[in-house]
């Protein structure tokens, strides 16, 4: 493919009064032409681009999963009043004229209201949450997919909806890995850049520190901490970040080492720029390529790690929906309930491959050979 090199060489038109659009709006930050070229190129790599769209919309969808896959009704009209239970507090059964003091079963309420004519209920397309169990009289879960009962992917071994667990499990996994990757890259880049820029004793101390740090057996630490503390989502992110940042420093450090010897850095230094400015404004944007292109692979790596931990039983506390749990259940039950394994394997493959495609696209789009003016 031909790279739009022209864009890079073109200078912005001079004297285009009264200034360019972003200046008029008061923006100082503008997308520089190189980045523009990269984004354009990324959108031209169809596989990566559509994968990005897919994974982004899946993420967006999972963030509002409660609207699609949930036991709570979207809207309840009861005695002339409207209720929106999805994101509200729990409505007890007696509030809708039922005879119990626990969360309303909206699936039953729908039928009840239809009969007594006191209102109506709109349920989400999959009216099950990830925790409740659906036991069918005379049968034992896992139950195969059923459109009639709205278990589109069947149920797991205790009658929970597989689709619900898959979707909420995805949300946990992707949020986890985004948080993890974000935090580790931030810490890793800052420390790596400082190591590379300052060099000397600072570099030496951190190198040795990281070498020691990376020798600590991660799985044991997770097991021990999981036994001491309640293994909740944030604790897990925390543990992963504590042990994950060090690996991110090496490439940034190496890149910084190279960049700091370049003339433009010398020039900036000569002009009296502070360390913070040199790293923030000059070095980081130039090493960003390394970070950005490895990002998607780090995300899919984190999803796999969390799944592996859950699979081994050291993950988030039951009954939190998780892919690892579904995977281990699916493997144990693959003869009796092939739909569990099929669902989870398809979902995992789709998500991991999609993220890998995004990564591939990014790498191509950022490939310096496509843009550089040096030949």
């Amino acid at each position: 493919m031909k790279a739009p090199l022209g864009l890079f060489r073109k200078r912005p038109p001079a004297g285009d009064a009264p200034g360019r659009a972003d200046d008029r709006a008061g923006f100082r930050i503008r997308v520089d032409p190189l980045t523009k070229a990269r984004i354009k190129r990324f959108t031209q790599i169809k596989r990566g681009y559509w994968s990005f769209i897919a994974i982004a919309s899946l993420l967006a969808l999972s963030l509002v999963a409660e609207l699609f896959v949930n036991s709570r009704a979207l809207v309840v009209s009861y005695e002339g009043k409207l209720y929106f239970p999805t994101y509200a507090r729990v409505f007890l059964g007696e509030e809708f004229g039922l005879d119990y003091k626990y969360e309303t079963d909206y699936r039953v309420l729908k039928d009840v209201l239809k009969e007594n004519g006191k209102g109506w209920v709109i349920l989400p397309p999959v009216p099950w949450n990830a925790y409740e169990q659906d036991f069918i009289e005379g049968e034992y879960p896992p139950n195969p997919p059923s459109v009639e009962r709205r278990h589109f992917l069947g149920t797991d071994i205790i009658g929970r909806d597989v689709l619900a667990r898959l979707l909420y499990g995805f949300r946990t996994a992707i949020l986890f890995s985004l948080l993890y990757v974000g935090a580790t890259f931030l810490i890793g880049t800052v420390i790596g850049a400082l190591m590379g820029y300052w060099g000397g004793p600072f570099d030496m101390v951190f190198q040795r520190l990281i070498e020691i740090w990376e020798r600590i057996p991660f799985l044991y630490v997770v097991m021990i901490l999981g036994a001491i503390f309640k293994p909740n989502f944030l604790l897990f992110v925390g543990i992963f970040v504590i042990f994950g940042w060090s690996g991110r420093t090496w490439s940034v450090r190496a890149m910084t080492y190279r960049e700091r010897e370049r003339d433009y850095i010398l020039a900036a230094r000569a002009m009296g720029a502070s360390t913070l400015r040199i790293i923030g404004v000059h070095i980081v944007p130039n090493v960003l390529v390394v970070i950005l292109t490895s990002l998607p692979f780090a995300v899919s790596g984190a999803i796999s790690s969390l799944t592996a931990l859950d699979y081994l039983g050291f993950g988030l506390r039951a009954p939190t929906p998780s892919w690892g749990e579904l995977l281990s259940m699916g493997i144990a039950q693959y003869e009796a309930a092939p739909w569990i394994l099929a669902s989870i394997v398809t979902a995992m493959t789709f998500v991991l491959v999609t993220i890998a495609f995004v990564g591939e696209g990014l790498r191509d789009a950022f490939d310096p050979r496509k843009h550089t003016v040096y030949r």
Partner: protein, 639 residues
């Protein structure tokens, strides 16, 4: 040739009928030896296993310090007359034994009993819990209420051929008291509880306990076994622990260690001309000539593969999903593998949700009573456990001993009822609702606790309880801790524990509920202290009469029910397994209190039919299907 349409259709129908006929008629393959034994199986009736003790006036022993009344009993034939001797049985071990010694460091491993296949001085009938003779034929009680005299059977021989005499009992006491065995618990028991053993000639001994006890208790405590004095050269070796690490002691039981490959296999052989067949109750038992154990690591799924591959003979299918999965296994559908299903009354101790009263929430009796109604055990049994386990209502089951029933058998826990639970939680002050539907009190404390459990395959069961508890406004957090859970429990560092404890012939509740134990590192998991309970427990401990002990035990159980200290869960009222067809069983499988009938050494009722093995292997090779066979004994199924 022109064939009319009707003729064509008829022809097709006929051909189809001809092809389908064998399927419709369900004709199964069978073979000679199988057919013969299955016919005999159908005719077999469950015998009467009872063996009441009686006074044997014919026994006179001279030279004893007191005149004695000698008791014995004559248990009937307990094995099946269909049994055939010989053959090889293949089993497995989940791990290799850490030592062949049966006392001393590391000897308390799962396969210890393989090296201690002794018959026992006298034994307990698994059907009636009556005493039956073993290495001793008769027993008699001394006037002091502490001494039991045993008349040994002169025919008893060690597996190496040496006779068993009273010297071996005297040696046993010396052995068990020796510091060289490095077993403080035994050192203590054989000093504190067994205070003396005296020999009167070669075949009479007197064993004395520390305190006067009820007769059955006394027999239970004093029926100690011999140790082979000749094997150790008459004295306890100073280097016993190291020198005997991989040496198997001679035994009085039916099997002795023949060969082993360290880390891999153990092979046992039937003792030639075993003396035990003298007794009727040992006839037609311990039939296999060789027992081969191989190490199979990697858990139940791997063991299952070995089993269906025909490398091991038996495979337990206790868990409901495992049993259900068996239905669809090819070898079972084709009848190469039979299944055995036996109901019995399992000896059960405390089991269920144990609530730590040191945790503020459970200090309130109303909350604990609310738990009775808020924990839906029945739904868990009906769904995840497929209605197969039995609901448990008490803290003890099958405590039957000396003809006395110790349990308050009429105790019943209420059914799940969120409304009733709500009433109790209201009384405890948890009458407000948080935004997620969980109850809280005026101070904002939520009705929430952590349930500690150790087995990952219980997660599914507990998830059902958790979802149901929400209906009572109760938040049950599941806390899985796979290792070191008992340390947390002993430290009382938990809120509620999904656990179970084993039990003895009758309850031993002092350790659980006495205020003296309401401190860390004891078995009072509840941190429970109540002077009234203490009174009952002290009285129970001091009481020598079993009948009165039983009354007290029932009172204690009622008080535990009233105080709502445990939400009992379930017990497994059966043993069931799948066995390759050449492993044959009596029609009645096992006895009322017997869970080890399928074991070659502890039960020994099955036999290996090598003729059937040949037939089944041939049928398997050619794909012939026998009629699937399930032997089910429901004599002791709870109503």
């Amino acid at each position: 040739m022109k064939v009319s349409r009707i003729a064509k259709a008829t022809l097709i129908a006929l051909v189809a009928l001809f092809l389908l006929a064998p399927l419709a008629a369900q004709t199964y393959y069978t073979s000679k030896a199988v057919a013969a034994d299955e016919k005999a199986l159908l005719a077999e009736k469950r015998p009467d296993f009872s063996s009441p003790a009686f006074v044997d006036k014919s026994v006179k022993v001279a030279g004893l310090p007191e005149t004695l009344t000698w008791y014995t009993s004559k248990p009937p034939v307990m094995g099946s007359k269909r049994a055939k001797a010989g053959g090889v049985w293949s089993g497995y071990m989940a791990e290799y034994p850490t030592t062949f010694r049966t006392v001393g460091p590391n000897s308390n491993h799962a396969y210890r009993s393989l090296f201690l296949t002794n018959v026992g001085t006298i034994n307990i009938n698994s059907e009636t819990k009556e005493w039956i003779p073993g290495e001793a034929t008769h027993w008699a009680f001394g006037a002091d209420g502490k001494t039991v005299y045993y008349k040994l059977n002169p025919k008893v021989k060690w597996s190496d051929g040496a006779p068993v005499t009273s010297k071996d009992y005297l040696f046993m006491l010396e052995f068990m008291r020796s510091p060289h065995i490095q077993a403080p618990w035994y050192n203590n028991y054989y000093t504190e509880t067994i205070t003396d053993i005296k020999a009167y000639g070669d075949y009479v001994i007197a064993v004395t306990a520390n305190v006067a006890m009820d007769k059955d208790d006394l027999l239970y405590n004093t029926s100690v076994g011999p140790r082979p004095a000749h094997f150790y050269g008459g004295k306890v070796p100073a280097d016993f622990v190291e020198a005997y690490q991989w040496k198997a002691e001679p035994v009085t039981g039916p099997y002795k260690l023949l060969d082993y490959v360290k880390g891999e296999t153990l092979t046992f052989q039937k003792v030639k001309g075993w003396w035990g067949h003298e007794y009727d109750y040992n006839k037609y038992r311990y039939n296999a000539e060789f027992l081969e154990y191989q190490v199979i690591t990697g858990g139940n799924e791997i063991v299952k593969k070995y089993f269906y591959d025909g490398q091991i003979d038996q495979f337990f299918q206790i868990i409901p999903t495992e049993w259900a999965a068996g239905e669809s296994a090819e070898a079972i559908k084709k009848g190469w593998i039979d299944r055995q299903y036996h109901f019995y009354v399992p000896l059960t101790g405390v089991s269920g949700i144990i609530m730590n009263t040191a945790f503020p929430l459970f200090a309130d009796k109303n909350v604990r009573w609310g738990m009775y109604y808020a924990v839906n055990i029945q739904k868990m049994i009906d769904t995840e456990l497929r209605g197969e386990y039995a609901r448990y209502h008490n803290i003890g089951l099958a405590h039957v001993f000396g003809g006395i029933k110790f349990n308050a058998e009429d105790l019943r826990k209420p059914d799940f009822d969120p409304k009733k639970a709500g009433e109790f939680f209201d009384k405890a002050g948890y009458s407000l609702f948080d935004s997620d539907g969980i109850r809280k009190n005026a101070a904002g404390q939520r009705l929430s606790f952590e349930l500690l459990y150790s087995s990952p395959n219980h997660t599914a069961r507990l998830s059902i309880l958790r979802e149901e508890a929400k209906k009572a406004g109760l938040d049950m957090q599941l806390k899985l801790q796979q290792t070191g859970i008992f340390t947390s429990i002993l430290e009382k560092n938990f809120q509620a524990w999904w656990g179970a404890m084993s039990t003895g012939l009758y309850g031993s509740y002092w350790q659980y509920f006495h205020s003296e134990n309401a401190k860390p590192q004891t078995n009072n998991f509840w941190s429970y202290a109540n002077p009234e309970m203490d009174k009952l427990l002290d009285a129970f401990e001091a009481e020598p009469s079993l009948a009165k002990k039983a009354e007290l035990q029932q009172k204690i159980e009622r008080m535990v029910h009233e105080e709502a200290l445990v939400v009992p869960n379930y017990y497994v009222p059966f043993t069931r397994l799948a066995s390759w067809k050449w492993v044959r069983y009596p029609a009645w499988l096992g006895q009322q209190f017997d869970d080890s009938w399928s074991d070659p050494i502890n039960g020994g009722y099955f036999w290996i039919d090598e003729a059937i093995r040949k037939e089944v292997l041939a049928a398997k090779k050619s794909g012939q299907a026998y009629k699937p066979l399930l032997i089910k004994d429901e004599t002791f199924k709870a109503k």
